[in-house]
């Protein structure tokens, strides 16, 4: 299926491909570092890595313009990086330092970078979906050609607000792209125990919303589908649902136990790991090993810098705890 799709897809310049490759690697290394720092007690609470799902954030954000908006879930570090938020401030936020993108207030699950159009990652499953709908409505009311991408998981697709937003977004034809990162699990519950139909994309039809199912471990497939959705949204044709099939890394969060119903599931993602797959495609298209290595080194250096920056930044002082409870006070 993937081979077939490749034949039809437009050929992107290899420079852009390399940028996508580097971004996926940056996210992977960022998440690996996050797990390491969590295990050292440097990240409070928990952290929810998107390892194995990098292609969705990277492919989708590559289809967005800098002034478009993105909202995502607590598993949203990848989207934040792909939307262009500096890794040093993101890592500092995970470590809840004052130099974090949210001044250490939000932590791993609450990232935000208004300047880059990242209007927040959210720790309440599906709550950001209607908020994204409202952001898209705002662009429409102002007559702007901005689109809003809303990332959420298969778990969120069972929540009422998902269905409510499908209805309202279609009714008001808002420029919203609903991107479902279907990784097969909601914490420990597999989709076979939570979803009435195998494809979440089917739900869009009931609201008159077009949908697509793509291989979520192929950044170019995601990019293409989101570009189509963005074009529709900008043309005033309303929302699209893009379901990206992917596989979750072994655990829900660094804090959770790794238990699955079927222990074989734990390493399922490695067989379809998007990064070596994409590297193979790039090689096939003529990218040299040296070029790939340069990108890998750059990604590694960026994440190391981010960790150093974060570790050297102070934690917020106790006197700041009431700051920002209310705006303008």
């Amino acid at each position: 299926m993937i081979e077939q799709r490749r034949q039809n897809q437009p050929v992107y310049p290899s420079l852009e491909h390399l940028a996508l490759y580097r971004q996926m690697l940056t996210i992977r290394l960022f998440e690996e570092k996050a797990i390491e720092l969590f295990s050292q007690g440097l990240i409070p609470g928990s952290t929810h890595p998107c390892i194995g799902q990098e292609a969705i954030a990277v492919g989708a954000c590559a289809a967005l313009r800098p002034d478009d908006f993105a909202l995502a879930t607590y598993r949203g570090h990848g989207v934040a990086i792909a939307k262009g938020s500096p890794t040093c401030n993101l890592m500092a936020e995970l470590l809840t330092r004052v130099t974090g993108c949210c001044r250490g207030r939000g932590g791993s699950m609450h990232l935000c970078d208004v300047e880059r159009g990242l209007l927040g990652t959210n720790a309440i499953v599906a709550a950001h979906i209607p908020i994204a709908g409202g952001v898209a409505l705002a662009s429409k009311l102002r007559g702007r050609a901005q689109v809003t991408a809303c990332f959420f998981g298969d778990g969120a697709a069972c929540e009422g607000e998902f269905f409510e937003t499908l209805n309202m977004a279609a009714l008001w034809r808002v420029p919203l792209i609903l991107i479902c990162e279907n990784n097969g699990y909601a914490i420990s519950v597999p989709t076979s125990l939570s979803q009435s139909t195998p494809d979440i994309a089917d739900r869009a039809a009931g609201f008159g919303i077009p949908s697509a199912i793509v291989d979520g471990n192929d950044p170019l497939a995601v990019l293409e589908a989101v570009e189509t959705a963005a074009a529709r949204a900008r043309a005033g044709e309303g929302p699209t649902l893009v379901e990206c099939k992917t596989v979750r890394w072994e655990r829900h969060s660094a804090f959770s136990s790794g238990k699955y119903a079927d222990p074989k599931e734990a390493f399922r993602w490695k067989a379809v790991d998007p990064i070596p797959r994409f590297a193979a495609l790039l090689r096939e298209r003529g990218t040299s090993e040296k070029e790939l290595n340069l990108e890998a080194e750059a990604a590694k250096a960026e994440v190391e810098d981010a960790v150093e920056f974060a570790l050297n930044s102070p934690l917020p002082g106790p006197e700041t705890i009431y700051e920002g409870v209310f705006a303008g006070e």
Partner: protein, 325 residues
């Protein structure tokens, strides 16, 4: 200053219309708010003046309606969401308490949520257990929310105008019983700052703090008690978050006695919080225990028994008499 007599419903309508004229992006969301004019007719004429884009009738889904309102607000478009009854607020509670209230804080101040959620209470008209509750204390329990609860047309207009210029989410609670109550409202523009209680009546023997629909009951009780030479001071806090503890404490230091009256359930109601604050701030001035004259801890029945569920003027008079002995 010239004025005229307006009902609370008209005063709310006027506040919104004025701010919609002044703020070209201000948008109203809700159900039955278009040509229908709002569940209780508060929006009459707004759809005709401002059109369907800004007076946006929508589907019955409280949660995502508030969610869309939050989305507009963080984009810089001030929004007003009407929940038809405050009893429906639980359907939207996550958006109100976990999103609107906290977004400014947890995103390090990058986003603000200029959102007003209007929530009518229908506690005194026999609407039954799912349409008669006074849930105002729930919203005091959420840092990041402001809560206004006017008891008359003058306060309603001035407080709502303030709410519509605030950069924080405001839950604006209106008792349906008061919509028709009328008082003088200035023609000229005025704002009432949040966190300033109003002393409606001065007195020396006891302080009664009353909110929302209990204010007229407290005022009537005060008149009746006056004839028995019991002089009571009546205070309407007007906003619950922020709460003007100082005005209440000052009154308590003068009278030595405090009764707190509200329709909301007695347990963990607003009175419990006010009472505790007074214990902390003015304990030495108390000549008697603080008394709650509040809604009963039971669902509010549909039968005429509902009248027993909320405190009345007579109940207050009786309590004060006992209290003064």
């Amino acid at each position: 200053m010239s004025s005229r007599v307006l009902s609370m419903s008209q005063a709310i309508n006027e506040a919104i219309a004025e701010e919609m004229r002044a703020q070209p992006e201000l948008t109203l969301l809700g159900q039955d708010i278009g040509a229908y004019g709002g569940t209780f007719g508060v929006y009459r004429g707004l759809y005709e003046e401002f059109g369907s884009e800004r007076v946006r009738d929508g589907p019955l889904c409280e949660s995502s309606t508030v969610g869309f309102g939050v989305g507009l607000a963080i984009s810089g478009i001030r929004a007003v969401v009407e929940l038809e009854f405050i009893d429906f607020a639980p359907l939207a509670l996550d958006q109100i308490v976990n999103q609107a209230a906290k977004i400014h804080y947890f995103y390090g101040g990058q986003l603000t949520v200029p959102l007003v959620i209007r929530a009518p209470i229908a506690s005194r008209i026999g609407m039954g257990p799912q349409h008669s509750q006074s849930l105002e204390s729930w919203f005091m329990h959420a840092p990041g929310l402001k809560v206004a609860i006017p008891s008359n047309a003058y306060d309603a207009k001035g407080l709502l105008k303030t709410a519509l210029r605030d950069w924080n989410p405001v839950v604006f609670i209106e008792n349906v019983k008061l919509y028709g109550s009328r008082c003088e409202v200035p023609e000229e523009e005025y704002l009432i700052p949040f966190g300033r209680a109003r002393i409606l009546r001065e007195g020396s023997s006891a302080t009664i703090v009353a909110i929302s629909a209990t204010v007229p009951e407290a005022m009537a009780a005060a008149e009746a008690l006056d004839e028995e030479n019991i002089s009571v001071e009546v205070i309407d806090p007007r906003t619950l978050s922020p709460l003007d503890s100082e005005t209440i404490a000052t009154s308590l230091r003068k009278t030595g006695r405090l009764l707190i009256m509200h329709d909301g359930y007695r347990t963990c109601g607003v009175a419990a919080e006010i009472s505790q604050r007074m214990i902390e701030e003015a304990f030495d001035y108390l000549d008697a225990p603080i008394v709650r004259v509040a809604g009963i801890d039971a669902p509010i029945p549909s039968s005429p028994l509902y009248r027993q569920a909320v405190p009345t003027c007579d109940a207050l008079i009786e309590t004060v008499r006992r209290f003064m002995r």
